[in-house]
Amino acid sequence: MKNTKYTEIIGGGVILVILIVGGYFYFSKDNAGELVLPSDSFLFGGKSSSTPESVKSSTPVSGGGFISQPTNVTTLTPKKERKLSSDQSEYRSTKYKFSLFYPKNLSVQEFDEGRGASTIVFQNPEAGLGFQIFITPFSGKQITEEKFRQDVPSGVRNELRNISVDGANGASFYSTNTFLGETAEVWFIKNGFLYEITAPKSLVSWLSTIIETWLFI
């Protein structure tokens, strides 16, 4: 009887230790490891996770940047104290007039696409992390259906949401790509350029925290 009681206590303790240790390892994994990301974010449609201070949902957008006009706009402005942390680097483009902070464990590659357009790739394939920014001169205020179809041949544009990134009006949506599969897209227009940010949909929350640091310079 006594042995049974001891066994129960020891067994319970072991389970508790397993839970604590397991929980510690589960929640302490960093970006370079086996990070499990939620499939939604404050910048995108679907269930919303917690909303940071710098994000405000507000009134219908005026002069919005996309083909069709959802009713609400999510405004994303950089935090007042935009301070580089030890695990971040700054990417700065004087040509395209913006700066953002990205995780240090990503490499950066720039591709000149000609006629003023560029693609900037931030990635760490070993960690399964990455996104790209395609920037092209753009004279309009709204992205036309024709331009959308040109860059997104699949034509998929799900959970479209109007957004504003540091004052630039645009849209976020989910799409599909033959190579990347399901993607998260953030497009906006500023200073005569169209900015198209793309990442695998599974990285949407991670991507949102990076876009939160976006600043036009």
């Binding site: 002069g63 070993e126 399964g128 004279s139 169209l194």
Partner: protein
């Protein structure tokens, strides 16, 4: 019967060839202009935001016969009033062209003028309004230029746009107008040369291009392709015309996107986690 089959084959070949031509014609920026007949033809619009000097007004014009006081483009503080505005128009004397500042209270003008015969030729016409005491007019090239420094106090809530007429409804333009642009900055010499040489305004000081109207579509509303969220022009009387200046580089927005992320890897998603394998 044999001839009929051969004909069908030829028709099929021709149709395929025709289809290929249609599919592979490169998309290009259609160019055109609007013809103003000198009697109440105009385009009007209002910016969403308001602007202050410095501003630069620019348009390509083509006339048959010079006439006095023909307004090409005006940007002002007061709707339907030339007081407190900037205007590019023909001057008082033969073949004279002006960049005019109208002061706020009485609308007294002062202008920089340049004389050049431009009949039957497309030319760039630029007025640069740097401050209340400096306005420059350029016609055709940077060299064809005059400066005026008379003090004229113009208000700093510029918002109302008029093409082919002045804001008071007079000075009706006779001739063609195309490639109209407004910057909320004083363009540099190299920028003005670029404009005169037909570079698309979207590639010139693009961060300050608040208004750009190619006037290349046959539509009663001419959309503002500049940065201001308003400024679309409503067309009254002016007629779409195929004649146009040669403008280059306006179709740069058509570059298609390439997905370069994770190039050279195979992607798998395992339990919501992204796994990449080298190809």
């Amino acid at each position: 019967m044999a001839i009929s089959i051969k004909m069908k084959k030829n028709i099929k070949k021709f149709a395929t060839f025709f289809l290929l031509i249609i599919v592979f014609i490169p998309a290009s920026f259609a160019q055109a202009s609007y013809l103003f007949d000198g009697t109440d033809d105009t385009m009007t619009g209002t910016f969403t935001s308001t602007y202050a000097d410095p501003v630069t007004l620019a348009a390509f014009i083509k006339i048959s016969v010079w006439a006095t006081g023909d307004a090409a483009l005006e940007l002002g503080n007061i709707v339907n009033d030339i007081k407190s505005s900037y205007l590019i128009r023909s001057g008082a004397f033969s073949d004279e062209w002006s960049a005019v500042s109208f002061e706020s209270s009485l609308g007294i003008p002062s202008d920089a003028t340049y004389t050049l015969a431009i009949d039957n030729t497309w030319v760039g016409f630029v007025g640069k309004f740097s401050s209340n005491t400096q306005r420059d007019v350029y016609l055709s090239s940077l060299a064809d230029h005059t400066l005026d420094t008379t003090n004229r106090a113009v208000g700093d809530v510029l918002q109302f746009i008029r093409v082919g007429e002045n804001l008071a409804g007079g000075g009706d333009f006779t001739g063609r107008i195309a490639n109209v642009a407004i910057w909320n900055s004083a363009l540099s010499d190299s920028d003005i040369t670029s404009y005169m040489n037909g570079t698309c305004p979207t590639s010139i000081a693009s961060a300050n291009l608040i208004g750009y109207w190619p006037l290349s579509t046959n539509n009663s509303t001419q959309n503002n392709d500049g940065l201001d969220t308003g400024g679309d022009l409503s067309v009254t009387g002016a007629v779409y015309d195929s004649d146009h200046p040669t403008i280059t580089g306006c179709d740069t927005g058509s570059i298609p996107r390439e997905i370069r992320l994770f190039a050279g890897f195979k992607i798998k998603i395992l339990n919501t986690k992204l796994k990449l394998f080298a190809e």
